[in-house]
Symmetry: C2
Subunit: 823 residues, 2 copies
């Protein structure tokens, strides 16, 4: 079988039809008599379902009229643009049909995840056969009219996408980007002990890094606490233009690989429908029996060492049942069947004639009655109501959400006698509250971290639970727990994907990550935000719990880990998504972090990004003050400024967002109070970054009048920002005072050094902020030239001290004492 093809896109003899350039229609097939678990009637019925679903898929891809081909197919019946990928559809439909058989026989609570891209016609067809489509979309009844409407809307302007999407009944996984199917499946299974997830993984998708890593997610699935995932590797051997890697390694290697992932693979291979049906029925039966055994043993308290979960390798032809040859070239079973096998069906008479024969090869007259409704034999195969995978409420997670039982965050608040009198590690304080959240919600809340839970100072959660771990446990290991409610794995992709699956099925969670490395999941965030956006417009979908990030070990305190660990740009990625969906919070201290997080865990259908430090930092606000400040999202800190007279405008506004920028701003304000007591300085702190945006651009946006009241319409604003400075310009672009916004932030100047050196490298330090004030306030440069020079000197001194001692100048610790000469 193996040989070297020539380079230039030549087509080998095996790819050529001997009939001389013909386009060949598939023959209606006769089901052979094959031994297996299915008796003849069951085999026939199951195959009829499969044919019906395949027919309906072809119809969606091609037809805009004449859905039952009851008249000869004419050009105007065929869509002008042919979209959707047929290649993967027969495999998806086969799995669905066999899953339904198991659901009926075992009364399974099951959902379906379609990993392969653009295979939407399959699950759409199945949902229509099951009646769900018509229940959710009254303009698409389960008859010929509905069929026509379903066909017409597919990949049509105003219609539905070509892959599974929020519009797809029974789907909680969008097949756009590829790579996340297994993670979503496992995330759904967590804390869902009765759930079975049939997860079809495309062999193209299987090449992606995230998918390759996510096979190991089975090490976090407790057979006692969680449901089961049955992965089905759809090995149809081709991607868009190439064979797949897993199809072109020896089968022994493939089996070895899957066993290495901890699975017991069962191979179902062939192109004869009867044989494949029998083998698939047997494989599904065996797999579900094994899953039941594993779960029964675990739930009976028997030790489970390495449950070797079953999985299925389904090796069937790409585009199975489509025309075998088109224009004389092999299509079925090759990459040419990946997308639309007959591309010219509208304009080319031969292609259109073959399309008609292709449709007829499924024998629609046996499948649909006079009205176009599925025949009773097919309806009989539909599981009961909510057991239908297309109607399972798990896949509409919002419909199952239970509110978290949230302990009062104020109970975990820290005492603040006066601003800055004490220090706390903000995330450590949050960890205490998350410990209580974890305790209160033993089956509805999980925390995910890429081996960074303790590094990010959330380890107090481990007082009430352990780290989920189903692999071996060695006596040297600490804190592992078969039922642990913290999931740690050194894969941001896995953390994000499992949490997404958990949220999409209606539960709550937090993902804590190093700020710089959350970029690893930029693309996953994008796709999830798009799901939230699109699903909000699907009337039957209910809002799901928000995706909550806690980004710590942030840019300003990655001084020790160096330049590679310094990147606050996730905020820029996040703010490209719809304002209805995204929220960004930069709490300046422990109590504000608590208050913000309480809000996030109550919210629905957002992405909340919270950036907070883990190092000891001053506490500014008491619990009460924090609550008021967070409710406003932005506010004047009168005690920090020098502008007490009501109604007088300040000479300068020192604005800040983020814990380190807040510290530097307050230190700068202290210097100014001391050295330029007549200067009217206002300090404004921003917790909720979206307050900066005009109110017509974001629901949290401040009206212009309020913004102007805080930031003035014309006075200089020296804005110390956590991230890249231009983000503030972007957010305040339409404000009256935008020309006077002078923003300091991270400008990609980093290295291995000390915290204060980091802010100095980026001109965000207190001394430079004072210089900025002197430079920007009209007339001050002359008046305060001495102070300015003192600041310049203080910076050089601080740098020299740092280089000599490997530590920051002592003055940094006493931020209230503005004596740069002490540095």
């Amino acid at each position: 079988m193996t040989r070297t093809a020539s380079a230039g896109g030549d087509t080998s003899a095996d790819n050529i039809d001997s009939g001389g350039g013909r386009t060949v229609a598939p023959e209606p097939y006769v089901l052979a008599d094959v031994e297996g678990p299915l008796d003849r009637a069951e085999l026939t019925a199951l195959d009829a379902w499969w044919r019906a679903a395949n027919y309906l898929a072809v119809g969606q891809i091609y037809l805009m009229a004449n859905p039952l081909v009851r008249e000869p197919l004419r050009a105007e019946h065929v869509k002008p643009r042919l979209l959707g990928h047929f290649g993967t559809v027969p495999g998806l439909n086969l799995v669905w049909a066999h899953a339904n058989r198991a659901i009926r026989r075992r009364d399974l609570n099951a959902v379906f995840v379609a990993g392969p891209g653009h295979g939407g016609p399959g699950p759409n067809a199945c949902a229509w056969l099951e009646g769900t489509y018509s229940e959710l979309y009254s303009h698409i009844p389960r008859d010929g009219l509905g069929m026509a409407a379903m066909f017409a809307q597919f990949s049509f302007p105003g219609g539905v996408p070509s892959h599974c999407a929020p519009e797809t009944p029974g789907s909680f996984h969008e097949g756009g980007e590829l790579g996340y199917s297994l993670l979503h499946a496992y995330g759904a299974a967590l804390d869902n002990p009765d759930l079975t997830v049939f997860c079809v993984v495309g062999d193209g998708e299987a090449e992606t890094g995230p998918l390759a890593g996510s096979w190991h997610a089975n090490k976090f699935i407790s057979p006692r606490r969680d449901g089961a995932v049955l992965p089905i590797l759809a090995l149809n051997e081709y991607k868009i233009a190439n064979p797949t890697l897993l199809a072109r390694i020896p089968e022994a290697d493939l089996i070895s690989l899957l066993r290495g992932y901890g699975h017991e693979p069962i191979v179902v291979a062939g192109d004869d429908p009867a044989r494949v049906h029998q083998a698939m029925a047997s494989a599904v039966d065996t797999s579900l029996d094994r899953i039941a055994d594993i779960q029964r043993a675990a739930r009976a308290g028997d030790a489970h060492e390495h449950p070797r979960w079953p999985m299925i390798v389904l090796r069937t032809p790409k585009g199975w049942t489509c025309p075998p040859y088109v224009d004389g070239v092999r299509v079925e079973g090759t990459f040419r069947a990946h997308q639309v096998p007959l591309p010219a069906a509208r304009g080319d008479d031969e292609h259109r004639a073959v399309l008609e024969q292709w449709l007829r090869s499924y024998r629609p007259e046996q499948l649909f009655d006079e009205s176009g409704a599925p025949v009773p034999e097919l309806i009989d195969l539909v599981p009961a109501q909510a057991r239908r995978m297309s109607a399972n409420p798990v896949a509409n997670g919002g419909s199952l959400v239970r509110d978290l039982r949230l302990p009062d965050w104020r109970d975990q608040g820290v005492e603040v006698s006066s601003p800055g009198a004490t220090d706390h590690e903000a995330t450590r304080v949050l960890g205490r509250w998350l410990r209580e959240v974890t305790r209160n919600n033993p089956d509805n809340f999980l925390t995910f971290a890429p081996d960074e839970l303790a590094s990010n100072r959330l380890q107090d959660i481990l007082e009430v639970t352990g780290r989920d771990w189903q692999a071996d446990i060695d006596p040297r290991d600490v804190g592992l727990d078969r039922q642990g409610r913290v999931i740690e794995v050194l894969s941001e992709h896995m953390c994000q994907g499992l949490l997404e699956g958990y949220l999409l099925t209606g539960r709550h969670g937090v993902f804590t990550c190093y700020e710089a490395f959350v970029h690893i999941v930029d693309a996953m965030f994008n796709q999830h935000a798009k799901w939230l956006d699109a699903s909000a417009n699907v009337p039957w979908r209910r809002p799901i719990p928000s995706l909550n990030y806690l980004l710590s070990s942030h840019v300003w305190r990655q001084d020790h880990n160096g330049f590679t660990h310094q990147d606050p740009g996730f905020l820029d990625v996040v703010l490209n998504k719809k304002p209805e969906i995204v929220r960004v919070y930069l709490p300046p201290d422990a109590n504000t972090l608590l208050c913000v997080y309480d809000h996030c865990l109550r919210s629905r259908h957002y992405v909340n990004v919270v950036v907070a430090g883990k190092q000891p930092q001053p506490d500014w606000l008491s619990v009460d003050d924090a609550q008021v400040h967070c409710a406003r999202g932005v506010g004047i800190w009168e005690w920090a400024g020098n502008n007490d007279a009501i109604g007088t405008a300040p000479d300068v506004v020192l604005a800040c967002a983020g814990d380190v920028p807040t510290l530097e701003t307050l230190a700068a304000a202290a210097i100014l109070r001391d050295r330029l007591p007549e200067l009217r300085v206002r300090v404004v702190n921003v917790v909720d970054l979206m307050r900066l945006v005009p109110s017509d651009e974001h629901p949290h946006g401040l009206p212009d009048s309020e913004f102007d009241t805080l930031f003035t319409r014309e006075r200089p604003v020296i804005f110390a920002f956590h991230g890249y400075p231009w983000l503030i310009h972007r957010l305040t672009y339409r404000r009256a005072n935008h020309a006077e916004m002078h923003v300091r932030g991270y400008k990609e100047k980093g290295t291995t050094t000390t915290p204060f050196d980091m802010v100095m490298l980026n001109d965000l330090d207190r001394y430079h902020l004072v210089m900025d004030v002197v430079d920007r306030v009209p007339g001050l440069r002359e008046k305060a030239a001495g102070l300015r020079q003192e600041m310049v000197d203080a910076r050089w001194n601080a740098r020299a001290w740092t280089r000599r001692n490997g530590a920051d100048i002592p003055a940094v610790a006493d931020w209230r004492w503005p004596d740069p000469a002490r540095g």
Copy 2:
């Protein structure tokens, strides 16, 4: 061995020292007599090297003085901040020592990739022992003074990072983010037939998705054309706070997994140095023999089916040779040895005493002479000059760069009789030129694509080469090639990582990707940009070829694939990096794309992002005009506007960047010329986005005077932009006319629809641009109220037509005929 630990961070008995809270120093060990390939002298010498490197690593982590511990260790000898991760260092040093033995015996041309994070002390130590450190950094001689300086600079302000970085001799792989070591190693091996890459993969890193997927990169390594990678999985069993997955699955599963990846693993396990040395020497010998056999057979023309490449699993204790117990708790061989085993060595007398004993346990008096230089027995182990891994020029790729032999792009240019008279698929035209580039540079240029080469219309490259493929080839497969110069795998991570490895070692390449899905490698781009930035400041590093992206299937023509495929935000990520490093080009047609890409392939040390469409679009500029326009980067298209009189300011500027925005802008200009002939309209096209930035912020930035000449200082600018609109605001923020910049771009409104509907959804269409002109030019709203209403109607008509017909209005095709009523 296996049992469930309790949840809350308790420590099992195995973790507790029976001595009652003591901190225990390691004993100097005696090398046992163990059978193996090493004779006693060789064993002793090799172990001495290992001890020396370990000593030097401990010194880097802890000491700022007294490097040879010739006086008792005092607090001031110990650094105030202890950084760097010791846990992984002994493993790295072991591999380096054994690699050196192989290099000497076989005259190997070898480089070293250190995957584990923050293990920098190991390679630093080895480079110093080899003399390279002193050759490259004259202030760090190979003696006691140099040792002191090397120790002091490590993770110290103004010094070097804790992981391998551009500053590290012999490293071309930065160990910041984890996940990419194997990809960089394989990328280095491509087209380097004589190279061996010793690639240490951390077992933490191995959990990441990118790493998990990248084991399959061996399917693209031709034993004839390419060098070899010897992966060494450093299974020290722990991450920061957890065991690793691969250490806690049964060894049979691990072996099965690695065989499934196509490897033949050899396990080296133990904690007795002599035994491990013998086993490691044997494993390295066997592995290199097998590699040599595979390559010899392939190069002799013998068939090679599935070369099963060797690899080594190295299971040794985390922090091997460090203090076994600290404060009564087990450290060596546990996660507690991951970072700094003795955290209180400066302040705590007991810890410091143990640190001193620990240092002495390596017997430095046997390793370094009176001056502090390595003893002759160690120097004897250093390979010759460029054979030293720390000095191999491959790791300083810029020193090996050969310019590409670039064919004249003008020869592939398309004929343009007048602007817009003909259409071409721009990327298809580029593909013809890339075909010639590929032909001309048969060992120096590769193209990478995630199964999207043909989809992005670069398939003409396949006329002169095939797709690299070392797995099975089936007769149905087309275009696969054992020596193919296109690498296609459905993993953006693999494409990016292999290309990075190829570039870092001095060769050239292109990565073509769907625009939306390039976000998958945001984080990898960030890290590579940081490498370019930091390495530019390392005097002995030479500039490497640029990283060239070709983003196609872009947001405006992903109408059919829907919302998930629509995201132009990579540009925002890119522009957060240093201006010295990043370039963004938006060529509007085929000839400009050719010209831009010729420039990119000649450039060094940049990241060039080029966004170009693959669909037929009008050709605007002839070859000559394209060359002039691209050289300028931005320019007035006089023929498109209505502002011929020299010296007169326009009433409005229509600016555009990107192919679809350019088309819509020209169509809008046509409408304006026709309907408001007195309105002076200027059309400005931007190819080089960085021209918009002030000249002091980016080397390509236009001086303000030139910017003002093009865009005026006060006239409205209607800017049609390819990406998210706020990016243009950000870039032009400091320009005089920024308040009059009105930008249209993608505002995250997308769905499955038609191309023109996409631009309408985002208000970027010609009709809306005309409306914008009417709204923004003073006085025009009254004068042109009729035209404005006509535009509004045209939009509604176009939408209705699209919904009815599933296609765009015919008027769109004839962009020069401004009759919206025809829609």
